[in-house]
């Protein structure tokens, strides 16, 4: 299949100056409109001519969608805030360093300067069968090319696969789930607030979307409550290259430890399924237990219950077990086991 790079198909470009104008455009053009944030995911699709929207709505001129402000003891981060701004923000650093770690480890400095937090969590999967334009389940077809006996599927899902085995590639998404963030979604009919956990959808529910965003919807802000401010955080990302790479797996946890015991915890992984997974069973199992290697060991084993390896991604199962183990027990306490 010939892929003509750098020559995008023609589309009508709109650069609205306000959120209301953007919403009006999205309502008018519906599924024919493409929302452009930092453009890092979008331009791949457009230059490869896989996606051919009639209309592109560029959000870069809307000042109201950027910036980080305090809100009810927590923070509200505009969806168009760049990852670099998130990393450099003193409030994020002081209270929610988990998000800082997730944002700082994403891609490269240039990409973080251009990429937005809204784009990072709403980006499409990196499955190359899908991104090459093959008509797979996610593209409206009737097969998952990555889940065939001869497929190259080293980066694909070990959990939550339902026909499609693509994974979510975001580094900030698990951090936001661990911080119990809320996503503010607007459309021409109003506003709704969705928990970070429910913002992402798996293929069982909707095989053609990664998030709850439907045509006409716009993610405008991310709200992080005060609940987990200053908690004990853990973020770890495993990737093939030390920089500029998507995660093979990552883990994010927020814990409140009292007297050596885990009082409260939220933990999420990404790269294991088509949506970032909050490990609620693990949270329930370790609550009240000491934050040590033994609890981590137990948590790691619990986390991989139900995992199914594809031909080339068996390594992800012990990897996930070890990441969860380290997130609970700490790197020093937890020994790596294969």
């Amino acid at each position: 299949m010939a892929v003509i790079h750098d020559v995008m198909p023609a589309f009508e470009l709109f650069q609205p100056a306000s959120t209301d104008d953007a919403l009006a455009l999205l309502a008018k053009y519906g599924s024919e409109a493409w929302v452009l944030a930092g453009g890092l995911d979008s331009f791949d699709w457009l230059k490869d001519r896989i996606k051919r929207p009639k209309v592109v709505v560029d959000l870069s001129q809307i000042g109201g969608l950027s910036g980080i402000r305090e809100m009810n003891g927590g923070l509200e981060i505009g969806a168009m805030t760049t990852l670099t701004e998130v990393v450099r923000n003193p409030l994020v650093k002081e209270r929610y360093s988990l998000l800082l770690q997730g944002a700082e480890i994403a891609a490269s400095p240039q990409i973080r300067n251009q990429g937005t937090i809204g784009g990072n969590i709403s980006q499409d999967t990196r499955c190359w069968y899908y991104r090459s334009g093959w008509k797979c389940y996610r593209a409206g077809g009737n097969i998952c090319f990555a889940d065939t006996p001869t497929a190259i599927n080293r980066e694909h899902a070990i959990l939550g696969a339902d026909r499609c085995v693509a994974v979510n590639p975001s580094d900030t998404a698990p951090a936001l789930i661990a911080l119990d963030a809320q996503m503010v979604v607007r459309n021409s009919r109003g506003e709704r607030v969705v928990s970070a956990e429910d913002y992402f959808v798996g293929p069982a529910t909707d095989i053609m979307r990664m998030t709850v965003l439907k045509p006409g919807d716009l993610l405008t802000a991310i709200r992080i409550p005060a609940t987990w401010a200053g908690a004990q955080f853990y973020f770890e990302k495993i990737r093939d290259r030390a920089v500029w790479d998507f995660p093979l797996l990552n883990v994010a946890s927020a814990m409140v430890v009292n007297g050596g015991n885990i009082e409260r915890i939220r933990i999420a992984v990404n790269g294991a399924a088509a949506r970032p997974l909050r490990l609620q069973a693990v949270e329930d199992a370790v609550r009240g237990k000491p934050a040590n290697a033994a609890t981590g060991e137990m948590a790691g084993k619990l986390a991989i219950q139900g995992a199914v390896a594809l031909r080339f991604n068996m390594y992800k199962i012990p990897l996930m077990r070890n990441l969860v183990k380290r997130a609970i027990g700490g790197v020093e306490e937890a020994t790596w086991t294969s």
Binding site: N142, I143, A204
Partner: protein
């Protein structure tokens, strides 16, 4: 707007992948138009049908309550109906925007439907009269007479029905066609997903065969929307309601039997 969607396979073939899902609206609206059209026809234009009279000596032997469906037959019918509704709901609600994890419910309902169909075939073959639901020569001859009389021609009145009216037999034939299409294709499609029943094997067939299977599954599936609508509609029509009640309670009244059924074609047995 294409009825069938095509895609290019990795080997460069242009293969069908599935039907266009606007067809579900075509089926639903088509079904609705048929129901409204039929209701208007019956209410405003249809003349009461006349059948040959039942011989008094035969009528005298007819009991008060006539056994129509055994408990086993009724159980099959309602289990199949529940499975069919579950299949339609899980297949088409996501297509109209109601998102939920539908695949598991769908294949489980499909397995229930398949088992109930296998049971039905065995039960009717060995314990009932399997030919009673298929049109015979008398049905065809009488259908011609009914059409001729509806068009104002002067022909002898048709005989009364055997156990099942001709409309019922035709409906059954169509539902067999659609039902077998979805269950057979659905059975093989289960090899494309992960279930505890089979080892997943997406290479069981070539892309073209798989594509045609998805198309047939889709066409039969959307067809079933209209067929189920029609079935429910006739089940609640006043003149058919005795038949519906018989599917619940197993028996029908002597009056309904004598009005619509021929004792020589379907011998009445008393319901206990």
């Amino acid at each position: 707007m294409d009825i069938i969607e095509f895609a290019r396979s990795p080997w460069g073939q242009n293969v069908p992948i599935h039907i266009s899902f606007f067809l579900l609206w075509v089926s639903a609206i088509g079904g609705l138009v048929f129901l409204v059209g039929h209701a208007l026809y019956v209410h405003f234009w249809a003349k009461p049908e006349q059948f040959q009279a039942t011989a008094p000596e035969l009528a005298a032997k007819v009991p008060q309550k006539i056994a129509r469906h055994s408990l086993a037959s009724r159980l099959f019918h309602w289990i199949m109906a529940a499975a069919m509704f579950a299949l339609l709901i899980t297949a088409f609600l996501p297509k109209v925007g109601v998102q939920f994890a539908w695949v598991t419910y769908h294949w489980i309902a499909g397995v229930v439907l398949t088992i109930s169909i296998v049971y039905h075939v065995i039960h009717t073959t060995f314990w009932l009269d399997p030919w009673s639901i298929w049109p015979d020569k008398t049905d065809i001859e009488d259908s011609r007479r009914r059409i001729q009389r509806a068009m104002g021609e002067s022909v002898p009145p048709p005989r009364k029905f055997a156990k099942y009216p001709m409309e019922n037999k035709l409906y059954h034939a169509i539902i067999v066609l659609a039902g077998l299409s979805v269950t057979l294709t659905g059975f093989f499609m289960m090899f494309r997903i992960r279930t505890p029943l089979f080892t997943r094997n997406p290479y069981l067939f070539g892309d073209m065969t798989w594509g045609l299977m998805y198309v047939l599954h889709g066409l039969a599936g959307v067809g079933l929307i209209a067929l189920v609508m029609a079935h429910v509609y006739f089940a609640i029509r006043p003149e058919k309601f005795d038949i519906t009640k018989a599917m619940v309670f197993g028996s029908m009244s002597r009056e309904h039997y004598l009005e619509h059924h021929d004792p020589e074609r379907w011998a009445a047995t008393e319901s206990k």
